[in-house]
Symmetry: D2
Subunit: 358 residues, 4 copies
Amino acid sequence: MALVPVAVVGPLQIELGEYELEEPEGRLVERSRAPDEVFVPLANTEGGLSISVSRGARAAQESGGFRTYVLADRVTRASAFLFESTAEAAAFARWIEQQLDEMRSWLESEPMSGLSKHAKLRELETHVVGPMCHVMYAYTTGDAVGMNMITRNSYALDQGFVTERAPVKPRRALLEGNMGGDKKPSHRYFERGGHGKTVIAECTLAEDAVRRVLKTTVADLLDLAFVGTHGAVASGMQSVAFTPPSAIAALFIATGQDVGMVGTSSMAHGTAHRVDGGLHATIRLPGLEVATIGGGTTLPSPRSWLRLMDCEGPGKVYRLAQVVAAATLALEISASAAMATAGSENFYKAHLERGGLR
Amino acid sequence: MALVPVAVVGPLQIELGEYELEEPEGRLVERSRAPDEVFVPLANTEGGLSISVSRGARAAQESGGFRTYVLADRVTRASAFLFESTAEAAAFARWIEQQLDEMRSWLESEPMSGLSKHAKLRELETHVVGPMCHVMYAYTTGDAVGMNMITRNSYALDQGFVTERAPVKPRRALLEGNMGGDKKPSHRYFERGGHGKTVIAECTLAEDAVRRVLKTTVADLLDLAFVGTHGAVASGMQSVAFTPPSAIAALFIATGQDVGMVGTSSMAHGTAHRVDGGLHATIRLPGLEVATIGGGTTLPSPRSWLRLMDCEGPGKVYRLAQVVAAATLALEISASAAMATAGSENFYKAHLERGGLR
Amino acid sequence: MALVPVAVVGPLQIELGEYELEEPEGRLVERSRAPDEVFVPLANTEGGLSISVSRGARAAQESGGFRTYVLADRVTRASAFLFESTAEAAAFARWIEQQLDEMRSWLESEPMSGLSKHAKLRELETHVVGPMCHVMYAYTTGDAVGMNMITRNSYALDQGFVTERAPVKPRRALLEGNMGGDKKPSHRYFERGGHGKTVIAECTLAEDAVRRVLKTTVADLLDLAFVGTHGAVASGMQSVAFTPPSAIAALFIATGQDVGMVGTSSMAHGTAHRVDGGLHATIRLPGLEVATIGGGTTLPSPRSWLRLMDCEGPGKVYRLAQVVAAATLALEISASAAMATAGSENFYKAHLERGGLR
Amino acid sequence: MALVPVAVVGPLQIELGEYELEEPEGRLVERSRAPDEVFVPLANTEGGLSISVSRGARAAQESGGFRTYVLADRVTRASAFLFESTAEAAAFARWIEQQLDEMRSWLESEPMSGLSKHAKLRELETHVVGPMCHVMYAYTTGDAVGMNMITRNSYALDQGFVTERAPVKPRRALLEGNMGGDKKPSHRYFERGGHGKTVIAECTLAEDAVRRVLKTTVADLLDLAFVGTHGAVASGMQSVAFTPPSAIAALFIATGQDVGMVGTSSMAHGTAHRVDGGLHATIRLPGLEVATIGGGTTLPSPRSWLRLMDCEGPGKVYRLAQVVAAATLALEISASAAMATAGSENFYKAHLERGGLR
């Protein structure tokens, strides 16, 4: 057994959305919004992490709290079909792009055993390069991350539907040809989502909270945003952010998420700009891969931590995604503030005293 | 407490290098090479992961084993200095680029309390954009990851050396301006390293082992490599690989590494090509951030798992980096083989039967 | 006046497709395919360029010629709307995503003067980040590149449709917020197209032609492809290719295309793999921005060069795109062959003798 | 012959630096700075381009003019050596990294005919991946772009020096393995330079000039910078800029530069932020590939246009690079201003009236 200590932090004040998927395209619709207060469990061995998330949460609370939005929900498996020529691959692409409705019906007809009803095919996109046609099957998977179920359904599509019916037979069918984005950060999924929930947390920090709680100023934070954004661009980061993986890893371990997905789930696009009376700050996580059922979430300890956040079991995954986003923004705010002080003195002190990254 | 079950897998047969740092530039020198057999602990909740790493290890063993190399060792903190104009930033850059030797002496003179002797400044690079000069301080940090110690030393440099001596005074000094690559994958660190160990594992799979152990053929694996490499390019991945984060996360949790660094540590550049009698396969991890001392490695459970691999304590970090790289390649080999079979049938079956990703 | 000498090269033997746009979505449909022989004009001051394109064309001709495919046709203008909050931006996105049909009707109703009938709105995509909603308007523009016309129509949409009807009023509307891909290479447009024609040229080089015409071997070319593909990945290139811009610039100058679009039009994803009897080679140009009417194509000299290729005037733009792709592949083949010879001797000799890049 | 009309625009008021290369490392040293007024020739068929560059130049002039800096000068040829194993490639890398001084002496000893004295080897960097070792030879090449001469010298190094002396013989030597950055934009060269001059132009726009000449406000321009920077990040652009290729293509055609290099030369990283009394704006061109001798610059028309700018012949290449950067910033300023007005009305009008992109 590996053991990681868990600290509970909060409460985070969050205005959360309630979401539903429209059938059959799987577009997310916001049904309502409501405020809540949530305590979050952080599994980590850094002293400073919890203190920093707390501080960010407090600054937000004194500024009206966080607001969170789920923009999209998808999980992608990208099969690849190899042909003798581009001619064949292009003809195949034209054909398969017309099969979405048919595929949905076929999957629902239970043509094979082992298929998942929870993995619903929502979109299909092709990419022809050389003699290959990559096919991105995009699903929704309920409250699970769903890599397992979409793998089974995609295999069924490839073997039972595509290779049976395609007017041009592929020389080879591969269940995944590496455009699917599983666990590896890529621009495709940074921009568009397609691996988990696309979620944004925002907060308008009041000038006073910045000064009293965060010990810095709006002007300082703006200078940091200017430097940090251009630093991210200069280094070719598929993110603009300071330290999302610290918060996300801590929440993932505590709640039994797949830690192999910390990298993709932590791709982040943050913004900051001055508004009347303070600073508007946001973070966009394009592919947050969280679950409230299945996998590691079924173990007792994760289950209890999910329960603490009222995120246990079916129907809770969008709530969990929003809580993770809010906690991530809380850490961004506090870490940025530590960095933005003159010479980043507070960031340094945190490292000196607490051995933490903030 | 968060609990994650740990499975022990192996042995992995590895020919490992012994490395030393040359003073003062910190260039790695290989002193010797020796074969070894290593059991590795994988903390995870997926049934299939251990089976898959085992299978890859067996295929390698029947083919002469893995060989591993550490190419470089660095950890970077990128301070940023903001000026009134590009003129000032450029003049500052010209000045600071000449200060490396002086900075080294200064740090050794113990000018401030709280500095780390283990974090040795090796290189310094500037990047001027707009009115900013980013300064990448690249250190080695012994057997620790060292973010903490390089933060303290960089703060000392910024506040005690740079702002004191610079002929052009910055309007603002930030300890980190986001070019430093901490926890966020970026092209800079994918290509060049600079966050942890740059390590390569290789293996020449014998045709027979591919057939008997991996249940596939060299031709199948080559087709997969062709499709997977172009799929990675098409989706803008800063990697060419299938599933490094699964292996790396499992080893990181077991051995008390910083799980927030799974994303950067899993950036990977894999290759595969046909050679006489089989397939040559490699994986390059440009920024593997592992430690054998400090942080989570000091807890009893991580310590015992490190001991199992003979990677506990001082002087063992290059060994640990190589073992992680070999285990990652073992998983790549097995997962690729499952995917390369006709229609990726074996990959599908693994998901159906074991709920695993391989 | 700037003068650039033009050389005529060929003939290129090409099997070309005939394409039409389906209304109203603007999906490309291939109506027929037919072989042709085409001479191409190359405006350049390098001696070696024409010789190299010729040689590649001859190798292809002895191998059955080139085959070309147009996969997609789009030009994008990405307006951006700035709001007080992400809440507003997200609500706006949900609204505007439903307006595509309505916008099409509105544009056709001639609500403002100066609109273009040739720029037809095909798709609309949103991207919410921070308090912004970027809106990618994707058009087809007939035989023109059409930046001008889509700018006018997008302005009309922003000012006459969106800001009038949106349930949430933006604080600011910008005609282009830099996601539109105009003249600047980006991953979005490398992967998906959206700026010009997405076109692939392919060729199966016969072993004999490789030896006699290209003075190299299939094995040599495969080694080069292996090295060159991984070199592209390692350097973070949004391309896998050797020298497309040389061919594309020469054709652009000769035919009066916008030379500012050479960079985006030269993004290229090439592949090469062994097939029975030879080597299959392709190049994919995701965003080739060519026109047969308007802009510089109306001048006498460009017009005559377009006529030489039977690409002058309306109805010829897909033909032109395919000819450019074939010429680009001809150069890739020849330059690669020069590089693939032992020690790249032939590439070197070309530089020594002719001052050319091949 | 291809003919392109040329317009002369200006004067641009620029404070330019005088630079020299330090021997033998080739570091640039600024010797002095002096103001000048320069007229620039723009070869293009867009009515709006000249008007827009003029307007930007006038706004700069009323604000104290442009200031330009050359930060670095390099041209790279990246040979690749293929081995039987990573072991060999890594051993080779360790060896070749120590050969820089020896190589310089060897090249100076005229070991082969056809070598160029103007191409001076300055740096050498290796990149080991799989069984390959890429070797980036970085040169300076005087007033020429120098692809030709560095190709010859690199071939000599590969064949006469490396394969003779290397303790581990490569299975294959390729003159270029695609890490060299020739004509294809990549992150490596966007960040670090290495293909031409790294040059920055800056300007502090006075509030009054923004209002009177540019017809917009500093606040408007800041909002545009905010949106445009995040739009660039979202779309995976290896640039943050609006329309550098328009200016650079026009100057390249007029002055006989290699138009195939417009894409790489136009990679740009722009910044804008508020300062007392106005807006500080910069553009960084990391790899501007210009020449004042050789290639197309020797033709009469380019020569006369170079003369107009006092950039003809030897000793003028840094001046030319700075003038191009200033003209590029002039266009950025004016195009941005047109876009930043309410609803981007002025940008639209430019398209409506003049068929221009500004």
